[in-house]
Amino acid sequence: MELTIADAGSAPRLFYGPGPRKRAALGGPGKILDPIKLANGNYLRLSVSLYLDDTPDGRRMKVEKSSYQYQLDREGKRWIFRYDYIREAGADPHPQAHVQIHGRLAESGVAHRGLSKIHFPTGRIALEGIIRLLIEEFDVPANQPPETWRPVLAEAEQAFLAVAHRPTSAPGD
């Protein structure tokens, strides 16, 4: 994040709860619920819960939930888009990986709840993809030149996709 779009001193932190360190959460630079301030003065609310899992290949850190929300204010009332993922859907009726966009449709009569309430199913999206989206489509300035951050993001995203859990668009499948 510091290499790419985070403002100076606004890198995410890893939080632990009480007890043995089998769970953790990536959150804000100060308190866990703080969003990360970006180089353009806007914010990325980064929330990822992690847990240790004993697999046949050894102990692995896995993502239980992740949420990446681009927003214009600290409180998140002026959010732009949000990518969510949850490994176990439970009773949540939405696609386990989806994107929401805080906006209005140009056409009327096609979505009674409004655009921002629609959970568009997606594949699993890496944080690196969000960073690239913000730089290339939302004009968030990068802290380093493209020849520095592009290969770093590409390598990290490939490593993520090689092991990432990929749910279908049907909740709970």
Binding site: G17, A24, G27, R82, H94, Q100
Partner: protein
């Protein structure tokens, strides 16, 4: 560079959950978690950071039993 690590106590987690749930949805933390468990939150993503925070608590924490 690896992220800085911080440890939160149960009281800190519960206090942040209560404050966030009250401020954003006018719900208690227990009610927020109950509605989420039942699939009754219309837009869980808007409180995804609170749900991630709750994941720091062990599964047998009393707040989940109450929810």
């Amino acid at each position: 560079m690896p992220p800085v690590e911080l440890e939160m106590t149960r009281d800190e987690i519960i206090a942040a959950l209560e404050d966030g749930a009250r401020t954003r949805l006018n719900l208690s933390a227990v009610e927020l978690l109950r509605r989420y468990r039942l699939g009754d939150l219309q837009d869980p993503g808007c409180v995804a950071d609170l749900l991630v925070l709750a994941d720091l608590l062990p599964d047998d924490d009393v707040i989940f039993q109450a929810a």
